[in-house]
């Protein structure tokens, strides 16, 4: 379906790359899952490579669909006493703090 051409410089994503991305994404993967992901990602990137057919050197990237500038507002506190609400959904809480596994030995 996707025609390979001279612009196509995609290298296939190997298991080492999958391990690297998994580390960056903070998602653990075992060997079996890594192989499945490599297969899926390669077919998706083969599809994405179609963009290399287009020359875009002189095109400005789109940063916002709405051509408006962001509104400025006064820097003032509008919500107060949210501590209880913020902590309410945490998987493990201790009084006013989020609890995480020990990080300092």
């Amino acid at each position: 379906m996707i025609v390979c051409d001279i612009f196509n410089y995609h290298m296939s994503i190997d298991l080492k790359t999958i391990k690297h991305i998994s580390k960056l994404s903070r998602i653990s993967v075992d060997e079996k899952k890594a192989e499945k992901l490599a297969g899926d990602l390669n077919s998706i990137f083969e599809f994405i490579e179609k963009l290399n057919e287009l020359k875009t050197d002189n095109v400005q990237p789109l940063t916002s669909v709405a051509e408006t500038t962001l509104k400025l507002r006064d820097d003032e506190v509008k919500s107060k006493n949210l501590r209880e609400q913020i902590i309410k959904n945490s998987p493990q809480e201790n009084e006013d703090y989020f609890v995480v596994p020990k990080v300092i030995e």
């Binding site: 998602i27 994405i48 916002s64 669909v65 609400q85 309410k88």
Partner: protein, 485 residues
Amino acid sequence: MSDITKQSLSELIKNIKDKKLSSTEVTKAFVERSEKSKELNAYVTEDFSAAIDKAKKFDENPNLDLKLPGIPMAVKDLFCTKNVKTTAGSKILNNFIPTYESTVTQNIWNEGAILLGKLNCDEFAMGSSNETSFFGCVQNPIDKDLVPGGSSGGSSSAVAAQLTPITIGTDTGGSIRQPASFTGIVGLKPTYGSCSRYGIVAFASSLDQAGPMAQNVRDCALLHEVISSYDEKDSTSIDFKRNNYVKELTNNIKGKKIGIPKEYRVDAMPKEIEDLWKKGIDYAKDCGAEIIDISLPHTNYALPTYYIVAPAEASSNLARYDGVKYGFRADGENLIDMYEKTRSEGFGAEVQRRIMIGTYVLSSGYYDAYYLKAQKVRKLIKNDFDEAYKKVDAILTPSTPSSAFKIGEKTNDPVSMYLNDIFTVPVNLAGLPGISIPAGHDAKGYPLGLQIIGKAFDEQNLLNIAYAMEEKINFKNKITDWWIK
């Protein structure tokens, strides 16, 4: 009054205002039908007894000046609802109870509507068939074991099956329009910036928009009028003059110029879709519109662009699910191990796949080749539309390249699943409004939709064209209640 659930939103409102029906009667009718329809798996969370209580309270002192007086309504489980569980179809948010309300749902309750429950969707709205939901797939009321589309699959199923008179979904690449098309209902994706994104579980922030899903165009216009508002809590919300979309609704579209983009004639387009499109052109002509051939030359690049931009933004948005602040947490030997196990066990396969794609295209050494490249192509796609809108008022295309498919048919091939959104994705990339209206059936009797794409902030014109065409098409959904024993 019998057959309450068969009434359109506009009829229900009239009957409540004329005191022919009470909110309690209406709410009970939808609750009863929803109770009998569990096989559809449209709901993730039911809030039925609270809904009936709220309806009774409404009836004690009814404010009939509101736009949605005592109308019960279920919403997609991507909208945060205060004190009601909001899962986004994910295990990682399985126990999340928001302490705040999304702006869009708040607008709805402010006009007198009552929450019935939260509707199933693809996990974090990533999917085109509702099969990625942690809570299982949803049945399409059109036929057994047929997908309702996605990601707003619970929403489309619930409206088509009359479990709710109307609903809201979200649309990042077609998630309102494609399921609307698959179930024979109307779905509108508004202009980016028209509806606030505050309190909607984020997927791809530069593409996400909330929008109405309804049985007809008038109901759709009414709900759009309620949900569209400027909101300073969303920095991309746009302050423009919003119409009274229902009051200004007209079927007079004489002389409107409607563009037909030749690039949407994709390879291997089924004849049924081609025929539907031709019929749509005839309907538009019958309404007095002028048909003009146009070109959107970068159409073929929209999907590859989308599958860089959307996962990139998703990988960034979903970094917040770390097992610390809310949601599911897996045990780990240390902090990093806890993060990695939480995200590996808490996210489903499709979400993990997209986080990985997004992380890769944003990672050092690849950013320019992928993300920057995609943002440049996105600009070209938007330019195509800008150019076309110098000649036409709206654009007519099919909504999807096929009718609904069977559950399990495409789950092993992500790219073939992605191709479903080929006609809807360009609209999100350009930030434009698009509406899908039911327009016919295929040989199997499954509904097919036509998409009308408008200029930015021109929802009124879009709704008018849809309204005029709806009248000519005179579509009747074929639903047999097969799931009710």
